[in-house]
């Protein structure tokens, strides 16, 4: 990956700098997760930087990826405020979700009780762990190879049916793999070892 972009990012606590700090300490290709106040999200959501020009907001309280954008994340407002200020999205949002608990287990109509369990860095991905009605789910987020899109995949225990209520995305191409669309916008995947349910999200502007 070219590192020329580092010169383009503004230097202060805009994530460019966090990213730069990381350059000397970590592999720059790794994603970074910042738990903070995010705009239009539940309290203490996640700003996730997946690559030099790709970031997203992950909101466990609502239940998933709230927004994905081409650009960066600016934490300066949060760090400088006395009273809570959300971080700023710097860039163009191309994917949005607003449905509360779009993921369901075993019953597509019942919003599950969702409990957050943490996250793990793994190669070029970040894996969020949570339970839905007690069933352990892992959700992996990573940038697509060319860096503009995002790949999102779920792994669920054997035999558990996972449902996802997708929303129309005017600014993104969204494709699914490993599940079936059982009703318009409603996807179903049944856990099976070695298989995962994958969603690829790409901005229309880049296609």
């Amino acid at each position: 990956m070219s590192r020329a972009w580092t010169h383009a990012v503004p230097w202060l606590p805009i994530l460019g700098m966090q990213w730069l700090t990381c350059l000397c300490m970590t592999n720059a290709a790794e994603p970074q997760v910042f738990r903070t106040f995010m705009p239009e999200a539940g309290p203490s959501a996640f700003g996730v930087v997946l690559g030099p020009d790709l970031a997203l907001c992950y909101d466990d309280l609502r239940g998933g990826v709230n927004q994905v954008w081409l650009g960066s994340l600016d934490l300066t407002p949060t760090f400088q405020a006395k009273i809570n200020q959300p971080a700023t999205i710097k860039g163009t949002v191309f994917y949005k979700e607003g449905k509360v608990q779009p993921l369901r287990v075993n019953d597509a109509t019942k919003a599950p009780e969702r409990r957050f369990k943490g996250y793990r860095y793994d190669k070029n991905a970040v894996i969020f762990h949570y339970t839905l009605d007690g069933v352990a789910i892992r959700e992996t987020l990573r940038a697509s190879d060319e860096g503009h899109g995002m790949m999102r995949s779920w792994s669920v225990p054997e035999g558990v049916a996972l449902f996802f209520h997708a929303e129309t995305q005017p600014d993104a191409h969204v494709t699914f793999d490993g599940g079936e669309e059982i009703a318009p916008g409603v996807w179903r995947h049944v856990g099976q070892s070695g298989k995962s349910f994958m969603m690829v999200i790409k901005p229309r502007s880049k296609s």
């Binding site: 970074q32 997760v33 738990r35 539940g42 309280l61 609502r62 760090f79 943490g118 793994d122």
Partner: protein, 643 residues
């Protein structure tokens, strides 16, 4: 105007001698690290770990020269850290207790595991999660901030997970669960709520005996900041947290709350003993930190670290607090950072006068924001500092005992009929025997939804003095020793045999219980002594003495002689303040009241005498002038006023 008054003061500080019994060292931080340090700990092998407001965890084996390694980042305002090993570090973040693990051995955490988040937070800024200590069973102890203010207890959101649509309200009252509680979390992640009634228990500590303590911060229901011994099931004052008790059955009135409430172990009187206390830490250094082994040190948001001596009386903890390191500009910091309003909870504008009495040990390089502390294996005290945007003072300092014995009150214990003071060294016997050495008073704080000023404030009469043969301790018999009061002691010019003045000649003993177990039986929410109306305009030199001790003594000196900073070959001597004891024509106190009142109100133009018109009320200015005349005027009858 006020700003000028405050910034002038440090100029004059150099005139006060500084006993160098403790040194404050600066720990350099790498420039990539945000210095807003919100937690400090040591690993079992002695490595230093800090967390900061930006959500990073940094580790170093060598605090002085580094290098530092960033172990984790992206945490949401962590305010506590516990290092079980170098690979397993726990932090309290706003929304959860998190276990950070380095599973691939590259020195960086790759697994951020949620240990527990059974409480929950909204966007309300006061929903901090504090502390992290292990109790005697090895479980994690933490506490939660409370956004609710005094008023009806809100039960609109009881016992249900957060509603998406509610969380963005600057929610007072908040739907967050278990806010204003102290709780424990087992190693495998089960949470047990322990005790309620806290406002913002920003400091969590566990004593060497395994007893859980927190400091709570003054405000609604909490008249002054406190050190509380946390016992499971008890309630400590702020009503709003009660809704999460299983036995909560609807509205409560002040009388029920009063019945339910357990008082603090030690009150930290607002002002003199700080504004917002942080973490209590026990001196477990076995003497490496000086003569206070086993005692508690508490940092404060102001430039203050205090010291607490605890004893068990009739089965419950109580004891005394003392300033340990206190800088004069602590007051300025509070004023500048919290604004007049905040300071006036609970004491009204009168709150100002509680920064008073004993000249602080000035000129220390201690910063404000001393919220988290930890003793290092070498016995020095590391102080992690952040003012979180409310002031200037972020970083890491280390306090080292120079091996010179500080002249201090080591202990203040209650006796059958008064108090026993034990000093760190043998004291001048003649002074110990002299009643004029001691100023003892008492006061109370009331239990009220909106806080309380000091009430029932009176002098306490010392009826007998028994000096121990080794001259290291003295017993004071006190007339009418009253439980339920805070006894305030000041020592006047007491010196050790070696000639050293007591460095912090002030103590507050929270006398909740007498030795025979008797407690206060009067009204908890009303004063017993109705304050005399000052409307008749008679100035009160006693009130003036306190104001002098707070605002004037720094320049004019305890003896009223003022003085000047010595000049050097290149610089002329600098006038520090007028000498009130001069008697010649044109001397300060030969001037009429009206002229002096004007100078105190408006300052002396072009001279370093600051204007106090925006700090003190007109009657307070008359009080302080009355004190000047009484203490330093023609007929010095200050002692008759004091006793």
């Amino acid at each position: 105007m006020r700003k000028t008054a405050i910034t002038l003061i440090p100029l004059a500080l150099a005139s006060l001698a500084l006993a160098n019994t403790y040194e404050i060292e600066e720990i350099p931080l790498p420039k990539e690290m945000s210095p807003e340090l919100s937690g400090v700990a040591f690993t079992p092998s002695g490595k230093l770990v800090v967390v900061n407001r930006h959500g990073e965890v940094w580790i170093t084996a060598d605090a002085k020269s580094g290098p530092w390694r960033r172990f984790a980042f992206g945490l949401h305002e962590p305010l506590g850290v516990l290092a079980l090993s170098e690979e397993e570090i726990l932090v309290t973040q706003r929304p959860e207790l998190t276990r950070l693990r380095d599973t691939n051995g590259d020195g960086r955490a790759d697994h951020y595991e949620t240990v527990n988040d059974d409480w929950c937070v909204t966007d309300n800024w006061h929903e901090f999660t504090f502390g992290l200590r292990l109790d005697r069973d090895g479980e994690f102890i933490l506490s939660t901030g409370l956004p609710d203010v005094a008023g009806e207890i809100n039960t609109r959101f009881p016992r249900v997970p957060l509603h998406m649509e509610k969380v963005h309200q600057e929610a007072k009252p908040s739907p967050g669960r278990y806010e204003g509680w102290v709780m424990k979390v087992s190693r495998d992640g089960r949470m047990t709520p322990l005790a309620s009634g806290f406002r913002a228990a920003a400091g969590v500590g566990v004593s060497p005996d395994g007893d859980i303590f927190v400091t709570d911060q003054q405000g609604d229901y909490i008249a002054t900041s406190t050190l509380v011994h946390v016992r499971p099931g008890r309630f400590y004052g702020h009503a709003a947290s009660l809704k999460w008790r299983d036995d909560y059955r609807g509205p409560v009135d002040l009388e029920m709350l009063t019945q339910l409430r357990t008082p603090e172990a030690v009150a930290l009187p607002h002002g003199t003993m700080g504004g917002s206390p942080g973490e209590p830490v026990w001196d477990t250094t076995g003497g490496k930190f000086g003569p206070f082994a086993g005692q508690v040190f508490i940092g404060d948001f102001t430039k203050l670290i205090s010291r607490v001596f605890l004893e068990k009386v009739a089965g419950e903890y109580q004891g005394a607090c003392f300033p340990f390191i206190r800088d004069a500009v602590g007051l300025a910091a509070i004023q500048a950072n919290s604004g007049a309003d905040n300071l006036t909870i609970p004491a009204g504008k009168d709150g100002l006068k509680y920064f008073r009495d004993v000249p602080p040990r000035t000129g220390t390089p201690l910063r404000p924001g001393n919220m988290r502390m930890a003793f290092a294996p070498d016995g020095s005290l590391y102080v992690a500092q952040t003012t979180r945007g409310w002031g200037q003072g972020d970083g890491l300092q280390r306090i080292v005992w120079t091996k010179k014995t500080p002249v201090e009150i080591a202990k203040m214990e209650v006796t059958r009929d008064g108090f026993r003071l034990t000093f760190t060294t043998a004291m001048e016997a003649a002074q110990l025997r002299d009643a004029k050495t001691y100023r003892l008073g008492r006061f109370r704080f009331l239990y009220l939804p909106k806080g309380s000023p000091r009430v029932d404030e009176t002098l306490a009469e010392i009826t007998g003095i028994r000096v121990a043969a080794d001259h290291r301790s003295v017993e004071l018999a006190v007339r009418d020793l009253q439980p339920g009061h805070i006894y305030e002691l000041e020592l006047e010019h007491l010196r050790s045999v070696g000639g050293g003045l007591v460095e912090n000649p002030q103590a507050f003993y929270t006398l909740t219980r007498l030795l025979d177990g008797r407690t206060f039986t009067g009204p908890m929410s009303e004063p017993r002594i109705i304050a005399e109306q000052k409307a008749n305009g008679v100035p009160d030199p006693e009130a003036g003495r306190r104001i002098y001790g707070t605002f004037c003594v720094i320049c004019h000196q305890p003896d009223g002689k003022g003085g000047a900073l010595p000049g050097t070959a290149d610089t002329p001597a600098t006038l520090v303040a007028a000498n009130f004891t001069l008697r010649d024509a044109g001397s300060p106190l030969s001037k009429p009241d009206i002229e002096l009142l004007k100078i105190i109100t408006d300052g002396a133009p072009g001279k370093p005498m600051p204007p106090f018109g925006s700090v003190l009320k007109p009657d307070e200015i008359r009080d302080v002038l009355a004190y000047l005349r009484a203490a330093f005027g023609e007929t010095n009858h200050s002692s008759s006023i004091q006793r």
